[in-house]
Symmetry: C2
Amino acid sequence: MPKHLITFYPGAKKISVDEGENLLQAAMEAGIHINASCGGSGTCGKCRVHLLNGITDSPKHPKLTPLEYDQGDRLACLTTIRGDIDIEIPIESQVDKSVLEIKGDREAHQYLLSPQDIYQLVQDWEVDPPVFKKSVQLAPPTLKDNVSDLTRLTNALERQHDIRGISPDFRVIMKLSRILRESEWNVTATLVLTRKGYKLINVEPGDATHQNYSIVLDIGTTTVSGQILDLNSCVVVACPDGQCDGSTLFALAEASDYNAQISYGEDVITRIVYSQRHGGLKKLQEVVVSTINKIIQELLEMSRIDRSLISHMVIAGNTTMTQILLGLDPKYIREVPYVPTANFIPPVRAVHLGINVDDHVHAYIFPMVASYVGGDIVAGILGSGIFQREPLTLYMDIGTNGEIVLGNKDWLASVSCSAGPAFEGAGIKFGMRATRGAIEEVNINHRTYEPMILTIGRARPIGICGSGLIDTVAALLGTGMIDPKGKFRRDLRTGRVRMGPDGYEYVLAKKEETAIHEDIALTEIDIENLIRTKAAIYAGCKVLLDSVGLSFNDLERMIIAGGFGRHLDLEKAILIGLLPEIDIDKFIFVGNGSLLGTRLLSFSKNLLKEAERIALMMTNLELSNHPAFMNEFVAAMFLPHTDSSAFPLVTERLQNDQCKLQN
Amino acid sequence: MPKHLITFYPGAKKISVDEGENLLQAAMEAGIHINASCGGSGTCGKCRVHLLNGITDSPKHPKLTPLEYDQGDRLACLTTIRGDIDIEIPIESQVDKSVLEIKGDREAHQYLLSPQDIYQLVQDWEVDPPVFKKSVQLAPPTLKDNVSDLTRLTNALERQHDIRGISPDFRVIMKLSRILRESEWNVTATLVLTRKGYKLINVEPGDATHQNYSIVLDIGTTTVSGQILDLNSCVVVACPDGQCDGSTLFALAEASDYNAQISYGEDVITRIVYSQRHGGLKKLQEVVVSTINKIIQELLEMSRIDRSLISHMVIAGNTTMTQILLGLDPKYIREVPYVPTANFIPPVRAVHLGINVDDHVHAYIFPMVASYVGGDIVAGILGSGIFQREPLTLYMDIGTNGEIVLGNKDWLASVSCSAGPAFEGAGIKFGMRATRGAIEEVNINHRTYEPMILTIGRARPIGICGSGLIDTVAALLGTGMIDPKGKFRRDLRTGRVRMGPDGYEYVLAKKEETAIHEDIALTEIDIENLIRTKAAIYAGCKVLLDSVGLSFNDLERMIIAGGFGRHLDLEKAILIGLLPEIDIDKFIFVGNGSLLGTRLLSFSKNLLKEAERIALMMTNLELSNHPAFMNEFVAAMFLPHTDSSAFPLVTERLQNDQCKLQN
């Protein structure tokens, strides 16, 4: 893809961007502030810039007079880069933004991995799904060869495809004789590899091998996410050396929604409490299945795939969510000493859970480790390949709980800390998941306090998602608008900070710019929630490292997983003390790690035993009664941290900025 | 047990009998005719004998005056042997019965094997049931040891009982957490060994290992038989050298009934035809399950065992019965080339079939060989040990079909011939199963044509069972009352033979002696049915032997299985040509071979693979389109056979008897 050079004036700051990139987005990435308060939806007109040289793809707009347009004025949010350009930013947007001088070649480092790279975090696998279809042509029976229909089929699968030791599902036997004859002895068998060998789960007339799909699900406390996969996609693509091009492993469609259990409690504890009511467990099971069925419906519609073509499901969730989905009483997860019912679940038929797929579809449930370290984490560790590699890695999954895993190919240790659902948008006044309309990137002008916001899909803002929340708090801290305890300065000369119904708040978008027709603001209470969340996660990491006598500096890699938008800004996450201040190129972001693992497992049967191995090798450290944890948590209830020596660069920058502001 | 000598006068024929035996029964066994037409129920008074010497246990009876009793008159059917005695038989009962001089020491030969001997037909097994209970005491979880409940249980089973690779049934996981805590971590696990390893099917509080029962079933076309077994019975009995005393393997109770499917057709073909009607298969499935449930109810009541203590079921049936029970359309069993749906059925939960046992009970379905050689035959071959031994053996199971297996430890070949249900009492005017009130032994006086009959349970006669039928036809033939085509001589001077509503018939019991208040007779049509049945079986054996170039004389052993009463008389079966004329001590009778095999498998898990091996090693020869079969069948439609050289002794005896009668 061709690269173009953008030079911003005044200052002549140069950045290199891809052909076709959006100018506002490019400025945001480069740390150049341009006021923008409609999220990039082209409605506020505040992101006006002046094109000094070069050509762009940028439409006329009512906010610009024809004369202004002809003289070179453009709306940055509507401008697409087509060549080298020089851009002048108006005085009210200009800011000399200081950046964290964290070691690491930001240009070279791929924090956001390409799909190819993501799928190569884990090694030694090839595309060979655990659920697969085989077409067989059978010789019709004769008096000299009148073995049973089932034997005829299994013999053919053995001879034609070298599949041995097949156990038939009883439902296949039920329809086998009819289908064999109706199809004139030409059928497609669907098999699933389990711990106990191959199971024959379906027989269809004719050759149906070209259509074989899987649905993978991440069942989170707050959010349920699903993808639909074409298990054949790699069959049509060359896979040199058994290593398949990751891009062929893309999901055909992706959908997610709030877990409908949210109405019965925000976190796993309140859900467990609800489950103990009369009929409570059944209710919770039913509502999460309703969410799952809604997501499946959406996936099928988006991908235009018929429900009957789904052959497999792979499900990962935290332990409480998994137990509730399976109808297993989660009572003892909450009680000391926090014992789950089972970590390894035999494959279940999805219809038995109420999931709306064909009756033969088996759901593989990712194995779990402990009451608060579930299948989602095992899936993430599988997908991130930590368990196969030498370097010491810390894996951090930030959802409603924060789960942290430390280790390498020889050992894995985990902790779980109840972070709260702030990053998933819950518990935040205008919080929302990272979907269309969510404010996912935020910058604030140091002098004017005017925001520059970008929304997912460049739509009018609806709310704030996890990465937007981090950006906003980082910006409020960086501009000195809030103190290290998260409280607003009371002397700011801006209408953006005001006393709202819930206390002081910063207005990110005004009602005339939003899709919800009210102001979108971040309150002090929201900030308090965020601080609590980040403090729990940081303290969890610290205690886990301490427990094995290591520190953040010993880490060779740090993998971040979570339901943030694509635009988690590492430096900002470090600024607020969510992430430790370590070399920036040690970080890798894998997005939803749980879905990554479920996707990989759908495609590769030799990862089945790896998933099991991970669950068995991981040692869990209980934090709830751990004396050091509370101390660490309290110490982290500060932006970035009470121990400034742990964040030397952040501390230095904040002090510099403070000085500049005072000048 | 003490033996006593009975000397019958005139003739001074001596026999040795066990203490406590019944005098009428002893005479019957010895071939000494005493008139008796109430089956031994003490009502007809015809079996009067005179005690010359010695002491018996014999009550007074209205049919005897006090003077007659004091002078030594006794009713044989009410007399129990307590010492050596001399008995005079009245003139009207006396008969100089000629016997077949078939080689073999009748006294020494145990045709009716003792349970000990029966259970040693098959070798290399020990009492170690495939479904077993293990008690485990678990350490309660602590914060340092908070593995999942399931892991805690499986670890304990591994450490305390060395059971590895356990797959849990999902239903166990569902209740596990609750039961572990309610029982204070002291539970009993029920496990079943399957082809895929151990499956954990139940968990109960406390130590419940002392109660573990199995129900075994033989699902026949005409009759369903069941037994309840105490799987622990051998645990409390010493089993030296791993060989358990067979007597400890007795069923606690046994029950059988007509298969309620009989209303929908007498044989498998008519059942299959019925199954093709709308709702037909479902109906047939439901009614056989109703029979099964009735039998289970009876077994539980007889043994006073609670339904919840049943842990396992083992079911054997012919292929059609098995498919119908499982709800598998039997359509193609009937159509050339006679293909069953499946010979190896994965374990099914009994409740899924509608069987009224606890939800965790798995039913093991005996593997099958072909459309007309089912699990009942595989069970019989397992129980009779043919597949392990060098000697060439012919196994014959006579039910509604006649199935015949030939072979030894190296090979097994089978045929099936539709014999018809005559021996199970169906298709015979007064036919009945071998239950209380069935005439099971019959003799007829050569001169008076008066019968001597014994019923099961010495009850008033209700009808005739298989062995009674064979006895009666043999006696009618031996006395020359019927010709070799089974037609009554028209010139007999006796009221016992008469023209009835269905043609000529012989009256075995008069209505005043029966429990049904009508005469019990055997008709020419009944005899025709019997001849057709025995011809099919004999022809089947002949064709099977011919197919491998062998003859009856090559057989070293012949095992008879079937639902006859205990009193199948080999010589009479040979007389009518049902069995070949070979050395009598080559025969062994194993009773219901199908139940024998199911019982053995219930007790010994290492027979699981043997059952499978038998089903795989058996080659089936289709008779239906076999040209030689029809010829052999026609040749055998004669008493004993058109080829008199195949029955030299029988032919000679019949000729002798004929001469005597003419003198």
